[in-house]
Amino acid sequence: MQVTVRLFAAHREAAGTHVVVAELPDGATVSDALERVCAQHPAIAKSARGIAFALNRTHVSADAALADGDEVALLPPVAGG
């Protein structure tokens, strides 16, 4: 399956891109998507502390299951307001 992973703030800068397309095996989870992105962009692994996840624009935990066409987002610690 193919999922889109969106990157923001420090992660986006570290990777030099705001989106990564990842090809993952069936049964993959958000955690697998993170691992794949970190393998492609090791700079992100350094700032993975405190990270949260969204799946199709809703907060989820790292063990959430993925389906083809999903949009995953890696969310660094937020600082709005």
Binding site: R6, F8, A9, A10, R12, G50, A54, R57, T58, H59, A73, L75, P76, P77, V78, A79, G80, G81
Partner: protein, 139 residues
């Protein structure tokens, strides 16, 4: 008509946030405006850069509004957040709440900004003479 929930690269208009509220039965409107300050944690700040996950932020604002309405007796609420590069004194966020009586409007306004800082997918980078850093607020 300005939407209730907005992530925008344009200058925020406090009056537009107030005017989009349903308020015929409202005896009170409370607003909160967050502005860019010239210092942060002992460092000088010359500008802030805000970045959002806009599609999700919109949904999170709706969630915060639902939570505020469950907890407080309010009539309506608007949440507007700015993105892009902001100068000192510019508004980064505007929250407006209408209610029958003042206490609920004040309380819901406070609740909404605190919650926004906790869960909205928005990030800020501080730029100053000492360099630039992505802020990691601990709510």
């Amino acid at each position: 008509m300005t939407p209730h929930f907005l992530v925008s690269a344009d200058t925020l208009d406090e009056r537009a946030a107030v005017e989009c509220l349903a308020s015929d039965g409202a005896g009170a409107v409370a607003t909160f405006v967050g502005r860019v300050r010239n210092s942060s944690r002992g460092r000088d700040v010359t500008r802030l850069e805000y970045e959002a996950y806009p599609e999700m932020a919109q949904r999170v604002f709706e969630q915060i509004a639902d939570e505020a309405k469950t907890r407080h007796e309010i009539i309506d609420i608007a949440i507007h957040h700015r993105v892009g590069s902001l100068s000192i004194g510019e508004a980064s966020v505007v929250i407006a709440v209408s209610s029958r009586h003042r206490a609920a409007a004040f309380d819901a306004c406070r609740f909404a900004i605190d919650r926004l800082k906790q869960i909205a997918p928005i990030w800020k980078k501080e730029h100053g003479p000492d360099g630039s850093v992505w802020v990691e607020d601990r709510p």
